[in-house]
Amino acid sequence: MSTDLYYKHVGKFDLLTRQQEYDLAAKAKDGCIKSKHLMVEHNLRLAIHIAKKYSKTKCSMEELIAEANVGLCKAVDKFDHTKGFRFSTYATWWIKQAILRYISRSTTVKFASGARNKIYKINIARKNYYEEFSCYPEDTELAGLLDMDIRELSELRCANQWPINLDQPINSEAGRTYGDLIADENTPDQSERLDHEQIIDSIKARLADLKPLEERVMRLRFGITQDAFDTTKFPKSRSQQ
């Protein structure tokens, strides 16, 4: 079903009056499945209304509505009509909780819900600060404003950076990706390589200074000959020449 069709379908259900809601909730509490279904159906518009508030996240509207409906079902199961509140008041929190949990699950970097709330507060505080002073606050300043530990705040801000796909091309440079910009730490730089080569050359030059027996001993010690006992197979050392 497309989203438009779903909206049309949901629009058919009118809002429940306080009395209707009370009666259905009472029956649902006694285990009446039909009453539960009716309560859900008549509050689908509420789920959509709340899901729309999170439409700016990376999640699609269909996914948000589906999660909101999960929260709505949970609210119907747990609603206590005897307390005298309207169902929508109670369900709103369950729907928000379901959506927020889904959003936190669907991001690349996973956060505990507490950490996510703190990040939300940090972002709001930074935004407010920028609107007031036209510049972003330092971490120390922000920690003071939010009464948070500076280390925790810095870690949360680092973790909150949006991940970049390494294979994504860089806009300004055709054919290059972000991955190309990362240095390979295993490759020695050219000057280091040249130094290595110079040292190796100088060591090789010193090979001529070795006495024949020294050279022979080193060859045997290093196992440069494949069969040390059969000397005829190997290049003759100078001691044999």
């Binding site: 130094d195 290595h196 080569e197 040292i199 190796i200 100088s202 060591i203 090789k204 010193r206 090979l207 200074d209 070795l210 006495k211 027996l213 020294e214 050279e215 022979r216 001993v217 080193m218 060859r219 045997l220 010690r221 290093f222 196992g223 440069i224 000959t225 494949q226 040390a228 006992f229 000397t231 001691s239 044999q240």
Partner: protein, 94 residues
């Protein structure tokens, strides 16, 4: 009580390489030495050769020639250089 300690970086071992006593046997059997040498003499020949080759590294690193020559990491690297040289390869990864 032994007065020698294991080297800080362990001992160098070489694939297909021989011990000093085995080298003494090989040299004697092949007639390269008139009589069988002691393994300590073979070690001295080996270290003397290593000291000659260690000079460029010692200059670079600021360590003594003696230290570098006895360093198992240097010995292993040198064995690799000589082996690659023998196999006529140009890529050397120290």
């Amino acid at each position: 009580m032994a007065n020698k300690k294991k080297h800080a970086n362990g001992y160098a071992t070489f694939e297909d390489g021989l011990g000093f006593r085995e080298i003494a046997d090989v040299l004697h059997e092949s007639g390269e030495t008139p009589r069988k040498m002691r393994h300590t003499s073979i070690r001295n020949y080996f270290l003397r050769g290593m000291e000659k080759l260690a000079e460029p590294i010692a200059k670079e690193s600021g360590r003594t020639v003696r230290e570098v020559a006895r360093d198992p990491r240097f010995q292993i690297a040198l064995a690799e250089i000589l082996r690659v040289d023998k196999d006529d390869k140009t890529d050397i990864d120290l």
